[in-house]
Amino acid sequence: MLAKSTVTQIKDLAQRYPSKQSAIIPALWAVQHEQGFVGKEAMAEIAGHLGLPSSLIEATASFYSMFLTKPEGRHDVVICVNAPCMLRGADEMAAYLQRALGVRDGQTTSDGAITWHSTIECLGACGGAPMMQVDHRFEENLTEERIDTIIERLRQPVPAGRASGAPAAEPPKRKPAAPKRARSEN
């Protein structure tokens, strides 16, 4: 069952757009934010609240790569290996990270801390290549040492009050990043 606040959010979304169908993707986000993934049952619930057939919700959800269909590790990491990142050593970083985590594509470390999805396509951080994305936060200008530091941070035990298996892909809302002052650094 979805939390009350998520249901309210979905109902508000349905009112916000000229067509309630436009609320499907935002509703999927709301659910993933709450539960960490969007399962079949949750999609049926969305369908109920929007007054749309379940099949429509599923058809839409399956098109978009960011909606997770099952629960994953507390943290989620990927590395871009498209050409601009490849030019700056992304392959080596991806290999190093997988060795350091001891997992293969789609696997989660045994402590449940980190899911290595796979290599990924350009995330708009080519100016800071090689890059890795950690729970929707970009870590740029990677080196092996920086990867070590990041992994160590992610392996920290769950802080009290946060259930394990809670949202990984959707971290709590953050304040927008402070604007960069450098002329060209992205």
């Binding site: 916000r16 757009y17 000229p18 067509s19 169908q21 436009s22 609320a23 499907i24 993707i25 935002p26 999927l28 986000w29 429509l56 058809a59 839409t60 399956s62 098109f63 978009y64 790569s65 960011m66 909606f67 290996v81 498209n82 050409a83 601009p84 490849m86 030019l87 700056r88 396509e121 350009c122 995330l123 708009g124 951080a125 080519c126 100016g127 800071g128 290549a129 994305q133 929707h136 936060r137 809302k173 953050r174 304040k175 927008p176 990043a177 402070a178 604007p179 960069k180 002052r181 450098a182 002329r183 060209s184 650094e185 992205n186």
Partner: protein
């Protein structure tokens, strides 16, 4: 012609993302001035300025606006912030540093075309940027720039921020609209163009983040001022996203027409590790490769097209002498295969076969006939696909075969990548 900070001129100001600070730099002055004008005059002004879309195709913005059929309402403005072309990271930079500049541009465009509900479609991976825009929208609403009877001028406008969820094709404007309507993001047939039948079947303008960011400045300073910057057919500046083998990658705002050499050598600090330049690619993943002999071409839609490539969305990927051009093309082909929406056969099947051949090249399993086979597949995709994604998937690989055919032959005769070997030998 050189670096010309226009959109980025205040980016050194601390906390520019905050409304108060943005206003202190003159922010929302353009929107206030626009509200004093007749919408039609505003369209004329933008037409006269010669502003061309920065999303990739370079279509004149004022002309696009004037295609909306008279008397048909509601009409919508959609700001395209889906930025997913490999090599491009300028819209992200514009949003992070000055979300209000983007918003002000959206409000000006909305008023000009008579739209009361505007949308921003932002790629799902840009979460901090999404949040920056969300905060900016809330601030602007509080200050009375968004809402009913804006600044007492009798104009109502609202802005909805909509987050995508990971699909490159949703940057294409018709796929974007389909996605915004809640469906799978597949492109639609054109015509009808969005200006006639767009979002929810209503007249719609889709404009890129960088395009709208130009508007406050054009309204404040006038069309003649804008036309005096850049080239006659490409006025203004562009943000160039430089990546790859340069010393200083990053975003550089350059006056249109500035030689590519200046961007790479002066601002990018030249090729890294004292190596030689082998090739570079303007525009993004889709665009054709250029060679050192093209360094004096101007950073401009028409000049780059004349040289055999396209300025696209303002990427500049620099490749040094150690680059395996086959592997670079392989990455892009695999990207297009992965992002093909599957709606039409030439693109769905063609990108699959191209990706297979490139993987075979890399693995040392390709046959001599495969080079021409790649070209054949390219011809049968280009011009036969439902949307430009299919066409564009063939441009970079075909240009690489044209200029670096010997590297393909080497992959075949040496059964693998000659560049990887030389690196391994160097290390051993």
């Amino acid at each position: 012609m050189a670096v010309k900070p226009l959109l980025t001129k205040d980016f050194a100001t601390e906390n520019l993302a905050q409304l108060k600070v943005y206003e202190r730099t003159g922010g929302y002055g353009g929107f206030k001035k626009a509200l004093e004008m007749q919408p039609d005059d505003l369209v004329e002004l933008v037409k006269k300025s010669g502003l061309r879309g920065r999303g990739g195709a370079g279509f004149p913005t004022g002309n696009k606006w004037s295609f909306l059929p008279k008397g048909v309402y509601p009409r919508y403005l959609v700001c395209n912030a889906d930025e997913s072309e490999p090599g491009c990271f300028k819209d992200r930079y514009l949003i992070e540093n000055s979300p209000h500049q983007v918003l002000e541009g959206i409000l000006i465009a909305s008023y000009a075309i008579g739209c009361n509900l505007a949308f921003i479609y932002i790629r799902g991976e840009y979460l901090p940027q999404h949040d920056a825009l969300e905060t900016a929208i809330a601030e602007a609403r509080q200050a009375g720039y968004i809402g009913k009877n804006v600044l007492g001028k009798g104009y109502d406008v609202d802005v909805i921020l909509h987050r995508g969820a990971g699909a490159y094709i949703c940057g294409e404007e018709t796929a974007l609209l389909t996605s915004l309507e809640g469906y799978r993001g597949e492109p639609r047939l054109k015509p009808p163009f969005p200006a006639i039948k767009g979002l929810y079947g209503k007249p719609t303008v889709v404009n890129n983040v960088e395009t709208v960011s130009n508007l406050p400045h054009i309204v404040l300073n006038g069309a003649d001022w804008f036309k005096a910057i850049g080239t006659p057919t490409g006025p203004g500046t562009r943000l160039w996203c430089m990546s790859g083998h340069v010393n200083r990658p990053g975003n550089y705002e350059m006056e249109n027409g500035t030689p590519i050499r200046e961007l790479i050598e002066e601002h990018g600090g030249g090729v890294w590790k004292n190596r030689k330049l082998k090739a570079f690619q303007p525009g993004g993943a889709s665009m054709m490769v250029l060679l050192p002999e093209h360094l004096d071409v101007g950073l401009d839609f028409d000049a780059i097209a004349k040289a055999g490539s396209l300025a696209g969305a303002g990427a500049m990927v620099v490749m040094d002498e150690t680059t395996c051009m086959v592997d670079a093309a392989r990455r892009y082909v695999k990207f297009f295969h992965h992002e093909s929406c599957g709606k039409c056969t030439p693109c769905r099947e063609g990108t699959f076969w191209m990706a297979n051949i490139f993987d075979a090249m890399e693995a040392g399993e390709a046959k001599p006939a495969d080079i021409d086979l790649l070209l054949d597949i390219g011809y049968s995709i280009d011009g036969r696909s439902f949307c430009p994604l299919g066409d564009a998937s063939t441009w970079f690989p075909r240009s690489v075969i044209k200029f670096f055919r010997d590297e393909f032959q080497q992959h075949i005769s040496e059964k693998g990548c000659p560049f990887k070997k030389s690196v391994e030998e160097a290390v051993a």
